[in-house]
Homo-oligomer: 304 residues x 2
């Protein structure tokens, strides 16, 4: 996450004070961590003018595969096992539910065949990064083969070249085709504990068509950090507020976040209370009032 990469910060506060800590220290427990308060505050507590980012050495190897599993439960087990057996090299674990995989690969059929056949409930794009060309690729193949033996992986294809790697990533990222018959649609960026994710998806799949007959839905996400994306199309007329209200009611039941990575701004502001208690909202307002008493910094966003 970006927050974890920021080690130094400079910001201008509402009263004109320049507060600066452009250090290169990774570890520092000298006083209050005001940097984390500014990060993600969307310009409402101060204007960030400089940052120092942590750099990491570039990995020199990558291995990419598309695998299918028989259930979300097996998917979660697979994630936990790969985190260990790949010795921390697992860098992508992009879950695609069957609806998303079907739509994306359908749109690309003119360019290439489906890398794995339809019919599984879950497809996962896996990538491992590393720095040891002598052992990384063989380790990756051995670890995936072991999970085929355990039954956690039902089917798999490993990219054998950079061209094949890009073709597998296109299944996850070449959105234009997959979204072709989804306009207009409401997109979501929610998060929750991994243990709640299968039930949440099942609830959305039941409730949304009940309330919006003929709705089309795509589910996909970065399961490794509990982040789930959804695209929901309920007909030609935009009904964003109704769809959001229905989905966020379900987010509330799993104590999830309405904004995993894209923030609140003003469009998600009415739903901040889904993810935050009244006491938290009061604390946020108090911090805003302290740092920006005249409400001149990006007014109307997040709180106030």
């Amino acid at each position: 996450m970006m927050r974890d990469m920021v080690i130094g910060l400079e910001a201008v506060l509402a009263d004109g004070t320049i507060v600066s800590s452009l250090t290169k220290m990774l570890k520092d427990n000298a006083g209050y961590n005001w940097k984390h308060l500014l990060i993600g505050s969307e310009g409402t507590l101060g204007v960030i003018t400089k940052t120092v980012l942590r750099l990491r050495p570039l990995p020199t190897t990558n291995q990419t595969a598309l695998v299918a599993t028989a259930s979300f439960d097996k998917t979660a087990q697979l994630l936990r096992r790969l985190e260990v057996s790949l010795s921390g090299r697992l860098s992508s674990f992009e879950v695609m539910w069957d609806d998303f995989y079907g739509a994306m690969t359908e749109a690309q059929l003119s360019k290439r065949p489906r890398p794995l056949k339809l019919g599984y409930p879950i497809y996962i794009l896996l990538e491992a990064l590393g720095g040891d060309p002598d052992s990384d690729p063989a380790q990756f193949e051995r670890v995936l083969a072991a999970e085929i033996d355990t039954g956690l992986i039902a089917d798999a294809v490993i990219a054998g070249s950079e061209r094949e790697r890009q073709a597998l990533w296109a299944v996850r990222e070449d959105m234009a085709g997959g979204y072709a018959n989804m306009h207009p649609c409401t997109v979501f960026d929610v998060s929750m504990g991994l243990a709640d994710m299968a039930g949440f998806v099942a609830d959305v799949r039941k409730e949304i068509p009940d309330r919006f007959p003929g709705a089309r839905m795509l589910f996909y996400g970065h399961a490794g950090d509990g982040n789930l994306h959804m695209a929901i199309h309920v007909g030609k007329a935009p009904r964003t507020d109704e769809v959001e209200s229905a989905v966020f009611d379900l987010v509330r039941t799993v104590k999830g976040s309405v904004a995993a990575e894209h923030g609140i701004g003003w469009t998600r502001k009415p739903y901040l209370g889904v993810s935050r208690t009244d006491a938290e909202l009061m604390l946020m307002q108090k911090l805003k009032d302290t740092l920006d008493p005249r409400n001149i910094l990006n007014p109307g966003k997040i709180v106030g």
Copy 2:
């Protein structure tokens, strides 16, 4: 770092409000991150009553070595190279300067011989963790052998058993013997950018004996995150304030932190300004005044 492991928090604020976000979400950008403001505030902004910690699967393999290098510059290069070549498995990179290594191994000579001979400027305890018993140990040996070929490692010994591993760790951690003729001593927990560390150590080694003839010093640290520990003995009479003042003057010149991991409390409070600008101290005071206007929470610590 502990901060990165905390994903949920409950705290009681000075006005009695219970503010709670005991979520299991790893990724959440819904509003201000008040959790990071409370973490590390040493009870001065609220009383933390519950936490949710991130758990990670236990690694199943470890490989441990003690190596020597010809300079701090080569040590820093080695760190950067191992971060890549061990594919992110490097978990310990404990730097010990010759004075520390000499004192610690001297104290243990009745139990075991020195694992590496004296005479190098820097010794490093290395550990890698992983989950693949089929390839991790061989990879570790291959990577270290490659760095002997590049000349970054001058000498090395790899632990061949758990008993040998514990003997290598004792060089770093069995403090009682190494500190035997250091009482009373002043210990430090500072941090800085890795590029500044060699010059800083050289400056301390020059300035302290100039001001305190006969001073004895030990240097060691977690170089991977810029953390340096020092123990300084300047005679039988405690002269903590003078020693701290001299060392922190040098910390100021490298824009380092006076408290990398152990916090400020009241003993480091006079030196908070070494690591923080006046604007930062004013911001911290403002946050304290907002959240604890009657100064009832751990008064006298950090600020106020």
